[in-house]
């Protein structure tokens, strides 16, 4: 299978799991060996533990899923302790990518620095597409100048390759250019789309936080368009994420200009999908990376 190089990192195939859909690995342990994938991205960690949002947290739509999980996680301290004591990632034989998010800007810098020192971690995915509590809840990537500033500061302190995950709600092309200018290694296009669910019988919003993240096969054409537009504008490697439900879908993202492809929501339905996508790409592409469309 063709390899992908991002910075100093080598991916044996271009298939990754998407952050937030794979937990910290445990849920998929029965379904496949992680070493079969190019990489895995862990669920986003924040400085303090987060309990997450009250139920309901899910709403199904035709070919799509709305979620309002609320970045539930154990907190970086507990994670750090566990990883230092147990060193589990070295056994996984794949690139383990830690996803981090902050309550405020400085958290991204602090957590990147600490994540760089942990054993068995290949790269850091900086999740800028989460709410900034000091800015009224808009995401950290709402303004281009913030993207440049945060990523530049992270790059100073992180000693591992840094990927930046963006929200599709803002100027993705503009933000990707800032990520490139700040010298991150790759940009992840993208987090979930803003969605809303209303219960017409109860005449109320379905979710306590009203808005939710929309993902699943329904978003694939939107994600493909975003990946293609960003690929036309930057030379930074792109990690595509959005609605992959088959090997063909993954190939489409590579043709749109992505270097790597993440699989998320559809793995809830087909837990072995990432491995099936690797097998498909192996058969259809072999050792030759597909040439992106002009």
């Amino acid at each position: 299978m063709f390899e992908t190089k991002i910075g100093s990192l080598i991916f044996k195939n271009p298939v990754l799991t998407a952050s937030g859909t794979w937990g910290m690995g445990e849920p998929f342990a029965d379904f496949y060996e992680y070493g079969l994938l190019g990489g895995v991205v862990l669920k986003t960690l924040t400085p303090s533990p987060r309990k997450g949002n009250p139920p309901p947290r899910l709403y199904e739509t035709p070919a799509g899923l709305l979620n309002s999980i609320g970045l539930e996680n154990e907190g970086f301290d507990a994670f750090e302790r566990r990883i230092c004591e147990e060193n589990p990632f070295s056994l996984w034989k794949t690139n383990v990518i830690v996803s981090i998010a902050g309550d405020e800007e400085e958290d991204f810098v602090r957590l990147s620095e600490r994540a760089s020192r942990l054993p068995g971690i290949a790269a850091i995915e900086v999740n800028l597409s989460c709410p900034n509590v000091h800015a009224g809840g808009v995401t950290f990537d709402a303004r281009k100048e913030d993207v440049y500033r945060i990523v530049s500061k992270v790059m100073e302190k992180a000693s591992l390759p840094v990927f930046v995950k963006l929200s599709p709600q803002h100027d993705l092309v503009g933000n990707a250019k800032e990520v490139e200018r700040a010298k991150a290694c790759a940009v992840t296009i993208s987090n979930t789309f803003l969605g809303l669910a209303i219960d017409s019988q109860k005449k109320s919003f379905v979710f306590a936080r009203k808005f939710a993240g929309f993902s699943g096969p329904a978003v694939k054409p939107l994600a493909l368009a975003n990946v293609y537009r960003v690929a036309q504008a930057v030379s930074l490697p792109i990690i595509a994420s959005g609605g992959v439900a088959s090997g063909e879908d993954a190939l489409e993202f590579l043709l749109a200009g992505a270097s790597l492809v993440e699989i998320g929501t559809m793995a809830f339905v087909k837990p072995r999908l990432p491995v099936e996508v690797v097998e498909f790409l192996e058969k259809s592409c072999g050792n030759v990376r597909p040439t992106p469309l002009p």
């Binding site: 859909t21 794979w22 937990g23 445990e26 849920p27 998929f28 029965d30 379904f31 309990k51 997450g52 009250p54 139920p55 309901p56 947290r57 899910l58 709403y59 199904e60 739509t61 035709p62 070919a63 799509g64 899923l65 979620n67 999980i69 539930e72 699943g216 096969p217 329904a218 439900a245 929501t265 793995a267 809830f268 339905v269 087909k270 837990p271 072995r272």
Partner: protein, 250 residues
């Protein structure tokens, strides 16, 4: 061990609002325990997208039996299948009921009766108290030892008139353990009943929730615990010691 397994429909019977399915699914059948569930892909297309979590009613040899209430798009699609069709199952999922050498009373509401088909075989003297809205809501009970099934209906159209709790009032709970499965409202009422009448009793409630994966990845199926934290219905449950959880009517 959990599997994604392509299961063949060996038998399928639709009766009223219910569907009785026997699926040849040897790997899942071998691993399953009573009170666990399977997540069933009702269609190989992308709509509906998510699998449907369905309680394992019984396991006989290499077959997994499901007793399904037809109530939405997903279960209606399931009802259109025919013998010989295959379905993708993920399972067995969840923790199941604890096995013990104690006298157990089974309490169920509606299609929550399903897991007790198997449990009645494993607890040969346990009785099942089950409530339905009316006689049309009673599923075929072929898989159950009917001599030990006590039925109540809200409208009195079958069995005793009243709820399953009215039947509970006539039963001695001394030294008994309760296994319950049913809608959240019923479990909340049962929790109130136990709180008043037998607060120290050991009881296990099987819950349900909307879920995407069924194996702990999506974090979508949380239920509130008494200590203020959340539990995942799919992988911490679906069976919980009743005292651990919050049962207020949602």
């Amino acid at each position: 061990m959990k599997y994604e397994e392509r299961a063949t429909i060996r038998s399928l019977r639709r009766e009223g609002k219910y569907l009785l399915l026997s699926l040849f699914s040897p790997r899942i059948a071998r691993e399953a325990r009573p009170g666990q569930f399977v997540n069933v892909r009702v269609s190989d297309t992308l709509d509906p997208l998510l699998r449907r979590p369905l309680s394992i009613a019984d396991v006989v040899g290499e077959e997994v039996r499901l007793l399904v209430q037809i109530r939405g798009k997903g279960t209606r699609l399931l009802a259109e299948k025919v013998v010989g069709d295959t379905l993708s199952l993920v399972g067995p999922l969840g923790n199941g009921f604890p096995m013990m050498e104690r006298e157990v009373i089974f309490v169920a509401g509606g299609v929550g009766v399903a897991p007790f088909a198997w449990l009645m075989r494993l607890f040969p003297s346990a009785r099942l108290l089950v409530g339905f809205r009316s006689c049309e809501m009673i599923p075929p009970l072929d898989w159950f030892d009917e001599k030990r099934v006590m039925i109540a209906t809200d409208d009195g159209s079958a069995g005793e008139k009243g709820t399953v709790l009215d039947m509970m009032k006539k039963v001695s709970l001394k030294d008994k353990v309760i296994f319950a499965c049913g809608p959240h409202r019923m479990l909340a009422a049962l929790s109130d009943f136990l709180e008043k009448n037998s607060p120290d009793i050991e009881a296990y409630f099987s819950t349900e929730s909307m879920m995407a994966c069924g194996f702990g990845a999506c974090k979508g199926c949380v239920l509130p615990k008494r200590d203020g934290e959340y539990a995942l219905c799919c992988s911490d449950g679906p069976v919980f010691a009743w005292r651990e959880m919050v049962w207020e009517t949602r």
